[in-house]
Symmetry: C2
Subunit: 382 residues, 2 copies
């Protein structure tokens, strides 16, 4: 039990129940006393990324969502399709905290010099359970933001920036000279576009409508293909031929786009082939699926020779692979460029209780471009 | 033009015409005079592998095949679906020789000692244009068969044996401890089964009917799953759990099998997981597609976390990757075990002209288990 001196705080929880529903609610939990090497961060800003929504909604059909509880103590319940529920055995009946990353101010510190040095500093942190008023975390995991940076500005220091940088690093490490990105008008896509312009890396942006083409062109993108255009395949072949891109990072996942990208890469590669090879070009063509905006099945017809791969790409696996020092360099670049290359824009700032209103879920749950939410867990509570 | 001393020979040719048909015929061609380092092999046996049929039929719908010409000088014509024709731009209007591998007797040799040493020897060769009475080839490319080996016994020294060995080598090189194989009752599958028993490597065989289960069990296979069984997914999960297989080689290509294999691997991997991970197991799960027995699209629902890959696997690319010395060791193992581990069985031996009979194409074109043909290009001509 919490003693009188314990700091209590609200924490957003998601529970998948065995009868096939997800229940979202706010728990009032004691904040742990920081150990010597730990600090307590008051969370002032935490983005709702697509990567958070998988854990948050548990794959439920949010069009079935119903509200219960009160305005201050809301509860949301929604149905999970049986096929999805089957894959959730590992989390059944567990009340799980949510939120990958956040920024806030260090309000309590353990006895170690490293922890004490962070008192009062604005820091960005990664590690789950961020949709909460307070988060106890190791000092070494805190990225100190440059003076003058607000928590809202530093809230998305990890997931999108490191993913975008990780794509460029993966491209280089695997010997490709340019890359392709889908859902390219997203916050992440805009960051990647800025990185590629700054670092002079060839980037083919794939978006889904003409407005997103305009948006990226205004941001300086040279190559943008619209997948809803009747000339999409021809545009893609021309873009791959011009850029020499042979690796793609795909946020969509479902449908035929991954296969279309590989097919266009193969046609581009064969333009320089001297004689017919029945097994296609020897150029390795790769699509990494890192998201699932389209939850439907992936389908492709293998019209791209034998030198190809499709696979999953996960930020945490990438960071483990490159090791702490290389990852730290990427983190430091993010902190240094947090107001420029890695600046995020948000549609709306909501409290924890507001994040569980059905009308807000209906908006941010769409994961639409330009509809990104920021949770301020201490909004209205300080 | 050929002078009086030139050896003439029949050669099977395949031409894709721009109007969307494939034409198969026999050409009478002069055999090149061997250069110092070359020999001429009289081809006595060459298998019709699935990998030959892609080049031979050019993706045509062979149910539309019509015969023309005469019994000795046959011509076969068949229609190519428009979608397939689109991918064949590189071979339009070219009369291409066919046949990946063969065995026969060296009947003429260039002046070098290496070439001269092969005179009269029975050798196995790889390199295309093998559906022909004679093939001029570099002496270094000839694999001398052990004394007492017939050309029919040595005809399939490369494609199936090296592919089967390549799968086991790939499994080891990429850190997996056991492997999965589909269409496992094929000639290739039976070889792989023998290799794995001999080398004590775990192998999960996937076949399509109960007769094939029996066939493999009689050959000593310990793990055989029947994809037409209602308990297939449960059987596969149990087989993956028992074997720890995390890499599969798939000859089918189309349909949902690749995704089912990854899903079963993921469920098996999660059986040992200690806590729920929303991104699935961290065990990398891989399916290599090396054939296309089902030409339809590949479809999967990504219910296997983020640590997965699907990609093409091609023997020639594998051999290039491991280098000449490592490849030579594999070739020598094949020659040494050609009558045991790497023994092939054939349904029928046909001449070049017989290979172009519609009733024979109807049989070997099915690529059914136990319906494998051997071409003897000199049958009836010596």
């Amino acid at each position: 039990m919490a003693d009188a001196g314990t700091r209590m705080g609200l924490q957003l929880r998601s529970t998948v129940k065995k009868e096939g529903i997800v229940e979202l609610s706010l728990a009032r939990v004691p904040t742990p006393e920081p150990k010597a090497e730990e600090v307590v961060v008051r969370i002032d800003a935490s983005p709702i990324n697509p990567s958070d929504q998988g854990l948050l909604f548990g794959g439920a059909d949010m069009s079935t969502a119903k509200a219960a509880g009160t305005a201050d103590d809301p509860v949301v319940i929604a149905s999970i399709p049986p096929a999805v529920l089957k894959a959730l055995g590992g989390r059944l009946e567990q009340s799980l905290p949510v939120g990958n990353e956040a920024a806030g101010v260090v309000v309590q510190a353990g006895s170690s010099p490293a922890a004490q040095a962070l008192m009062g500093k604005t820091v960005a942190i990664l590690g789950g359970a961020m949709y909460a008023q307070y988060r106890c975390i190791k000092a070494v995991q805190c990225l100190v933001l440059p003076p003058g940076t607000t928590p809202a500005e530093g809230a998305d220091c990890f997931v999108n920036p490191l993913t975008a940088l990780g794509m460029v690093e993966t491209m280089r490490a695997e010997g490709h000279k340019a890359l392709v990105h889908t859902a390219a008008a997203s916050n992440l896509g805009q960051m990647l576009n800025k990185i590629c312009i700054k670092d002079r890396v060839g980037l083919v942006n794939i978006v889904r409508n003409p407005e997103q083409v305009d948006l990226l062109k205004k941001l300086g993108a040279t190559s943008v293909c619209n997948s809803s255009s009747p000339t999409f395949m021809d545009d893609l072949i021309a873009a791959h031929t011009a850029s020499g891109a042979t690796v793609a990072f795909d946020a969509i996942g479902g449908g035929r786009l991954a296969g279309q990208i590989l097919t266009a890469m193969e046609i581009a590669a064969n333009k320089t082939a001297k004689e017919y090879s029945r097994y296609g070009s020897t150029t390795h063509k790769q699509v990494y699926i890192y998201g699932g905006l389209d939850r439907g099945p992936t389908e492709f017809n293998r019209a791209f020779g034998m030198a190809w791969g499709i696979g999953g790409w996960l930020l945490t696996a990438f960071l483990q692979k490159i090791g702490f020092d290389a990852a730290q360099k990427l983190r430091e670049r993010v902190a240094a460029e947090i107001k420029t290359t890695f600046a995020s824009t948000y549609t709306k700032e909501v409290s924890l209780a507001e994040a569980l209103r059905l009308e807000e879920i209906a908006v941010y749950g769409k994961q639409a471009t330009g509809q990104k939410y920021l949770i301020n867990p201490n909004k209205g509570l300080r």
